[in-house]
Symmetry: C2
Subunit: 247 residues, 2 copies
């Protein structure tokens, strides 16, 4: 029989954690001394290491408890779910990363964070929240439905759209400059990369999207945030410059 100290030495797990596992009955000691000190056997040590392993994979203690108690359980399913979760989290983090980088670029270019502009965009972008759900699922022509299906993430407020908002906000900063200015083109380039990521090489959908956006009523109907004509025109001109330079 191994004392609790022995276990901590061999696993690096703290005493508190072991007591906690005992408390939630995840890992109950094999026995106790008459004084109440916990005693663990080899079997418990093994189980503890299984717990450690599963924890590293990101499972919760509750899940681990179920997995280890129910021997007939379908592991495949649990692993599959966990994998899906991990992949999603990774993507979210990737978007956040890009947004952060974008923000930092914005700072270094402009010398200022300019949260107010950015969040004004977000405000517009989020729309009235209730109106949006009211419009959804009704009154769309087929073509628009296709667009909506292809772009589920463009009109929900997730971290992916965040960068679009940010980029447009940054673009808005440079309306007074020339569309060929390096700061402007840098932003456009990022936008270009992002469309590639989203739509792949072909830009059919992208063009359609912008066509819809340019029609104010449709834009509103589809739940997109309105973009001022100024910005739209500026963007188009800058985009054309960028495209011509690509060739």
């Amino acid at each position: 029989m191994l004392s609790i100290k022995e276990i901590t030495k061999q696993t690096g797990i703290t005493v508190r954690t072991l007591r906690y596992y005992d408390e939630i009955k995840l890992l109950v000691p094999a026995g106790k001394t008459e004084g109440g000190h916990r005693l663990y056997g080899e079997k418990e040590l093994k189980k503890l290491q299984e717990i450690q392993f599963l924890k590293m994979l990101g499972f919760s203690l509750k899940e681990i408890k179920e997995m280890l108690s129910d021997k007939t359980r379908d592991w495949q399913e649990g692993l599959q779910n966990q994998l899906q979760y991990v992949i999603k989290e990774k993507e979210k983090l990737a978007e956040i990363e890009k947004t952060l980088i974008g923000l930092m670029n914005g700072i270094t270019i402009d010398g200022d964070v300019n949260l107010s502009e950015v969040q004004k965009m977000i405000h517009l972008y989020q729309g009235s929240y209730e109106e949006r759900n009211a419009y959804r699922d009704q009154m769309f022509c087929e073509e628009e439905k296709v667009l909506l299906d292809l772009l589920p993430n463009m009109n929900s407020r997730d971290s992916d759209s965040l960068e679009w908002v940010l980029l447009l906000g940054q673009l808005k900063q440079h309306l007074d400059k020339d569309v060929t200015a390096p700061q402007v083109q840098k932003i456009i380039q990022r936008m270009y990369e992002k469309t590639i990521e989203t739509f792949g090489d072909n830009d059919v959908f992208f063009n359609k999207l912008w066509a819809v956006r340019k029609s104010p009523e449709k834009s509103k109907k589809m739940g997109f945030y309105p973009i001022e004509d100024e910005v739209l025109d500026f963007f188009e001109r800058a985009w054309q410059v960028f495209e011509s330079k690509q060739k």
Copy 2:
């Protein structure tokens, strides 16, 4: 002045959350009715959206509070830190993802999870935890020191090493089969990919590493988990088959 309901409609933030923000003084309403109902102004709405934005980037409420209160604060630093954090988390998740995929492959190949073997490896791999720290920082020849510096993640128990353990565990399952068996070669391929990731194209370090591992005393001295000669030999033979097929 806007009622709390108005705010939830425009932002999608729940009443409870607004009350919580009031409680922790992150966002205090502009005023109250005589009856105690919260009233918000445009300024508060704006701040709330800033909070939302920062939250999407993964900042904690405490951090956001500081960022928004201290206008002179150096945002660059906070963003930089957050970026570092996000990148690390992403890497961790990537490792977990690979391990999960490895596990699932193991299942589909063997039809069994075989946690016992895996965790036996982990047990060995983790060693006695204290012994490890005792040996570290003393009694290494220069060459070994270089190796240790290049492989900080190989002898600490992080999720990266997890897959190595896993792969070796899987390999051990197939000791009875031929080294050219597709299951074996599949494992070897994953190992190959992983060495590329870790060491780049050149395999000098990798060979040295295995040289060290093949010497039992050195292996123990450097804190690596011991690998049975059986497994080592099997691995080497399988590796050679794989390499020859590459050309």
